[in-house]
């Protein structure tokens, strides 16, 4: 885990920095990507996140964590944010924030849910909804470095319009025979849909090109019930629990 060591070597305090919104991209009806310029950004590893802090006019502040979706090689730091109904911070970021706005940010944070091209073994990514964001940082990093690491992305979304980064993902897979992407749509499939249907199940995981003996590095990210379901299935199928790294978000559903 050399990546981990790089991530944590410092011991210096992570100071609050000012991020300026350079561009906002609408990804889906509920999701936007914020492209941020952060002066003096110290860099990050794919999979890490940042803390952001918003300050209201009366001085009220709120903090939240968001995964970084951009590669370390990219010029701007990208956060991909889904609007959580009734949320305090995400509706502001998705609906109110404009290019040129500024807010505070500190990071990068987290050294476990991290992958770099230096990591040995195939890469097996499983995303549910906006859980694609930190996995996209890994895929973008892999692409920028032209790394021939055998990689599978299994990506579950509610419907086709909820798929984030579809063009970029397809373009990546098209010119890279070491990258395979499988989509599944759980609620609504368009006519003529040739991808998978329904929630990720054992059969879909068995179809993936990396059985347990191939010792893939597995990253699962999505809502808590999704991650619980998928990671339990992976363990049942014989994958080493220590090779499965998870990031859960949202309510438990329990």
């Amino acid at each position: 885990m050399t990546a981990t060591e790089t991530a944590t070597a410092s011991g210096r305090r992570l100071e609050w920095q000012v991020a300026e919104v350079s561009e906002i991209v609408i990804e889906t009806p509920h999701v936007k990507s914020l492209f941020l310029h952060v002066t003096g950004w110290q860099g990050h590893l794919p999979g890490q996140h940042v803390d952001i802090r918003l300050t209201a006019e009366d001085g009220y502040q709120a903090q939240r964590s968001y995964s970084i979706a951009s590669a370390p090689e990219d010029e701007l730091l990208t956060l991909t944010v889904e609007r959580v109904m009734g949320g305090e911070v995400s509706p502001y970021l998705v609906d109110e924030l404009r290019a040129g706005d500024r807010f505070q940010l500190r990071g990068p944070v987290g050294g476990y849910f991290v992958w770099t091209v230096a990591t040995r073994g195939p890469l097996y990514l499983i995303a549910g909804g906006s859980g694609i964001a930190p996995l996209m940082a890994m895929l973008r990093h892999r692409e920028r470095r032209k790394a021939p690491v055998p990689t599978e992305l299994l990506y579950s979304s509610r419907s086709l319009e909820d798929v984030i980064y579809p063009e970029e993902l397809d373009a990546m897979a098209q010119h890279d025979r070491n990258l395979h992407i499988a989509y599944t749509l759980t609620r609504k499939q368009p006519e003529g849909w040739v991808g998978r249907r329904g929630r990720i199940d054992k059969a879909m995981l068995i179809e993936a090109p990396f059985p347990p003996p191939s010792k893939p590095n597995i990253f699962v990210c999505g809502p808590t019930p999704f991650v619980e379901h998928v990671s339990n299935l992976l363990v049942e199928l014989g994958h080493d629990a220590l090779a499965i790294k998870t990031e859960r978000f949202g309510p438990t559903g329990a």
């Binding site: 981990t4 991530a7 944590t8 410092s10 011991g11 210096r12 305090r13 992570l14 100071e15 609050w16 920095q17 000012v18 803390d51 802090r53 918003l54 300050t55 209201a56 006019e57 009366d58 009220y60 502040q61 709120a62 903090q63 939240r64 964590s65 009734g86 949320g87 305090e88 509706p91 502001y92 109110e96 924030l97 706005d101 500024r102 807010f103 505070q104 944070v109 987290g110 050294g111 476990y112 849910f113 808590t224 619980e228 990671s231 339990n232 992976l234 363990v235 629990a241 220590l242 499965i244 790294k245 998870t246 859960r248 978000f249 949202g250 309510p251 438990t252 329990a254």
Partner: protein, 207 residues
């Protein structure tokens, strides 16, 4: 370095009802939900296969089966919990065996060494000063809200040290090791604060 906070126009309209500042540490928000944050799959452990061990250095000074552990004095506490990922949950109710009672059951008067490492199923570890466990400050909890703790929340047993950020309240705890010298646990080696006092906002190294 710029500590001046830019104002976010229009932010704050969706803010939650203000909770008294003496209940919620800086940078936290209150949730009624119970979020799950774990670095890997949830271990599924049957209580029949569960044991709990207390070690001093390399030597075992106490070991309990589930039934034996259940027969130890049980304590119920109501407390607020604070996760480093910013959520706090108020008035949570836990039951289990306090660290004081565990020491007593092992026939240990004074712990004799100042640090603890908690070892868990799934390879997770976390370190803390023993002073933060004694005097009813820490327990091994086996019930949440009067029910067995769900596996996603650390069942069958988790450490509970509610005055520190909740990553210190290690899920699926199986062994406590009393140490002469401090060592860093899982998140503490990954840039998180070695102590983790939420009231001082000790989230990351150097905070």
């Amino acid at each position: 370095m710029n500590d001046k906070a830019p104002i976010s126009r229009g932010f704050g309209s969706g803010r939650r009802a203000q909770t008294p500042k003496d209940r919620v540490p800086p940078g936290q928000y209150v949730t009624t939900d119970f979020p799950v944050l774990s670095a890997g799959p949830t271990p599924q452990i049957k209580v029949e296969d569960w044991t709990f061990a207390l070690q001093r250095g390399g030597s075992l000074i106490g070991k309990w089966s589930w039934a034996e552990f259940e027969a130890l004095p049980q304590t119920t506490i109501k407390t607020d919990i604070h996760c480093v990922t910013k959520w706090s949950k108020l008035d949570t109710v836990w039951r289990g065996v306090t660290f004081d009672d565990l020491l007593k059951a092992a026939g240990v008067g004074e712990p004799a060494a100042p640090y603890i490492m908690a070892h868990c199923d799934g390879g997770y570890t976390t370190n803390l000063p023993i002073a933060d466990l004694i005097g009813a400050k820490g327990m091994i909890a086996t019930r949440y809200d009067d029910l067995p703790i769900l596996p996603v929340h650390g069942g069958p047993a988790r450490l509970l040290v509610p005055h520190l950020y909740f990553w210190k309240s290690a899920k699926w705890v199986r062994r406590l090791r009393i140490m002469e010298h401090d060592e860093r646990g899982f998140w503490e080696r990954m840039g998180y604060h070695n102590y983790g006092d939420p009231w001082k906002e000790q989230r990351y190294d150097g905070d």
